[in-house]
Amino acid sequence: MLNVHQVSKNFGSFQALRSIDLEFANGVYGLLAPNGAGKTTLIKMLATLLFPSEGEITYNGENITAMDARYRNLLGYLPQQFGYYKNDSPQKYLTYIAALKGMSQAEASPRIAELLKLVALEDVAGKKMKKFSGGMIQRVGIAQAMLNDPKILILDEPTAGLDPKERVRFRNLLTSLARDRIVILSTHIVSDVEPIAGEVIMIKDQRILYKDTVDHLCRRIEGRVFETYVEHDEAETFRSRYLSLSEKQESSRLKIRFLHEGEAMPGWTPVMPNLEDLFIYTYRDGQEQEDKEPAK
């Protein structure tokens, strides 16, 4: 059990996170928030790269800073800015990271072979990484995070640069991994977490706004999401009146999915809200300062 107790993080006079309380048990957690919300800051604290300005983080009741190497031994971490050694091959690179993780070469080499296969890089295992595509690099990053079979796997925007096929493979992988470990992944891409996250955590105004299942979260705006068709010349007025969630061109008209609190108009079709709707609603313009919760 990984716990965050009343954690704040300041960078000089700027407060990036304020009084965060979180609890992680085994399962997949999606950290969903727009750019600059503090996802990376929170994750770096969980990865011991940053120290909380206030509060503490514990694992099974023990402070993770005090646990030191014992904690990091349980940790697999893919940073958002994944730097690698350009002249190394994945094989060499993973051997090095395995050494940093305290693994002997005898332990490391079967594990590396296994992981290279898992991330579909066995064919290029000996090639220098400087010739790799962004997605291939990202897969090397995922492999290094999993080298030590971590109990806590933290991934900062892991799907960036992955193609749809890899994305699906990756999601399935996380689901199977999460059975007996904590998996925390941050993203601002809703579709990455919606299908797999047991719980979604949303940060707003330096605080945790929600930590709940996708279903529960979507229910918060149930009955307020509609779809309708509007003419092109009406679109502008429509958008100024209602919060547009998505738009699609259909024959000569625009199909708009939108949110409205109040009476439905004729011609509107009520639809099931999804996580993306909530995301757009939560982080809509003019809402940065106030964290007014939507009405129950």
Binding site: K44, L50, R72, L75, Q81, Q91, A99, L100, G102
Partner: protein, 484 residues
């Protein structure tokens, strides 16, 4: 180097983990073309310096001198020396026999013969021994006695400089000239001035006053200088009673071998290894931040302790590069300049004196022991520099800043003596820094100039090692708590 470290990751050998981790750090700094290219460039430069040294055209004579030292020994109080004088006298007799036969004249000294021959050779090229690059300022009170040697004669021309007519237009054969030359070389040792009187008459106290006046010292600064020169006076007595003062050496005024080896060569080596040390340490220490790999590396089990691996890797790399550069350079140097029997010649010898004040070492040091001590000192200094760069890297963003920070440090510490007041002994102690120490590698372990303090080398190195060691520990501790 690359081949060796490249094989770490794949080899199945049982290298312990901690050693592998240090190996990985070493590999980060040594891979790529920069360090090997710099080493090659430095070696080329060093060879160039050796080949263009004033002594280079004279290396044949140098070999002759070391041969004489080997054959007769270097101590004037030993029987070999009596033999040398006897051989010289018979050589002189032979010279005069032939001279009478061919020119109808005799010479008192072989040097006179060569002076006469040189005078006859119009426009003969001469090397310039008056090149004064030395640190010791002239002191009117200690003018050395004049010396009747061909070797200190600027117009001396090697006998084989022009095999067609010997350059002299005189009827001597090659063999004769070679023999007379050897006689002249032996003369340098056989007809010595009264070296003992010279050492006893050295007005060391006057020299102290000269230094005090030159630097405008007063108060306890001047007192320390006087005190040290008084000690040097006692030490001079010891040197004379040990006989080191009269031992054979390469003639200082002509060859300046002490300056060539210890000032020029070691000077180049020191600054080359310094560049490598700071470069390699900066690279290793800041590598993860420059390659953006910090987040992965410092979140592993080894985590921030990787900094300790980096420290050890920096120290080993600095030591190995310094040792390698010195070893190769000195091997080439001693291949060109044959020291032969002079390896054991005392640095404090009269013959080693290049200007007007002898090199008086605080403890008996020979060429060999001076060189070894200087190399140990250089190695320790480089380790201190590596540690200092490492500490600086904790505060600076990248390896370029580390380089600049080190340069700034260097500048400040070298300037320190010129900004502190000259009336307190702190003025002397402000020179007790590794930066200052290595500015005069030919003046180590000896009394000379203002930085003559006995044992300053080991005082400086111990104090600085202690301070830097402490700073390194603080730096590592600080890094452990730092937000990355």
């Amino acid at each position: 180097m690359n081949g060796l470290t490249d094989s770490f990751p794949t080899s199945r050998s049982r290298i312990p983990l901690w050693l592998r981790l240090i190996g990985y750090e070493l590999r980060k700094s040594l891979r790529g073309p920069v360090v090997p290219a710099l080493c090659a460039a430095f070696l080329l430069l060093n060879v160039f310096v050796m080949l263009t040294a004033n002594a280079f055209p004279l290396r044949g004579e140098i070999k002759m001198l070391s041969g004489i030292a080997e054959k007769y020994g270097i101590r004037t109080e030993e029987p070999g020396y009596t033999q040398l004088q006897a051989d010289y006298r018979s050589g002189m007799e032979h010279l005069n026999e032939i001279a009478v036969e061919k020119e109808g004249v005799t010479y008192e000294h072989a040097a006179d013969f060569w002076a006469a021959q040189s005078g006859k050779a119009a426009g003969s090229t001469a090397s310039d021994p008056t090149d004064s690059t030395d640190a010791l300022p002239p002191d009117p009170s200690t003018v050395p006695p004049s010396h009747p040697s061909v070797l200190s004669n600027p117009t001396t021309v090697l006998p084989d400089s022009n095999p067609q007519n010997n350059g002299f237009g005189v009827p001597y054969t090659e063999e004769e000239l070679d023999e007379f030359y050897l006689t002249a070389v032996m003369e340098w040792y056989a007809v010595t001035p009264d070296t003992e009187a010279f050492y006893r008459n050295l007005d060391v106290q006057n020299y102290a006053e000269f230094q005090i006046g030159k630097f405008g010292l007063s108060g306890s600064a001047a007192d320390v200088i006087r005190e040290q020169y008084a000690k040097l006076d006692e030490r001079t007595e010891e040197i004379v009673s040990s006989g080191d003062h009269g031992a054979l050496f390469f003639p200082g005024p002509m060859y300046k071998m002490h300056s060539l080896l210890f000032k020029t060569m070691l000077g180049f080596l020191i600054f080359e290894s310094l560049l490598l040390t700071v470069l390699v340490t900066g690279t290793i220490a800041k590598y993860e931040f420059e390659q953006r790999t910090a987040a992965v590396v410092y979140a592993t089990r080894r985590g921030r302790r990787t900094a300790a691996d980096k420290l050890l890797a920096s120290l080993s790399a600095s030591f190995l590069l310094t040792a390698g550069l010195c070893a190769v350079t000195l091997l080439i140097f001693f291949g060109i300049y044959d020291y032969g029997g002079l390896w054991n010649a005392p640095i404090s010898s009269y013959f080693n004196m290049e200007l007007d004040f002898p090199y008086l070492t605080w403890t008996p040091l020979t060429v060999r022991t001076y060189l070894l001590s200087a190399l140990v000192l250089i190695a320790v200094v480089q380790l201190i520099f590596a540690a200092l760069s490492f500490v600086l890297s904790g505060f600076l963003k990248n390896s370029y800043y580390v380089f600049a920070g080190f340069a700034l440090c260097y500048g400040l510490f070298v300037m320190l003596p010129s900004i502190v007041p000259r009336d307190a002994s702190f003025w002397i102690y402000s020179m007790f820094t590794p930066f200052y120490l290595i500015l005069n590698p030919h003046g180590l372990f000896m009394g000379a100039g203002t930085l003559l303090y006995e044992g300053k080398e080991w005082i400086t190195l111990s104090v600085w090692s202690g301070m830097i060691g402490f700073a390194v520990l603080l730096g590592l501790k600080r890094f452990g708590r730092q937000n990355l």
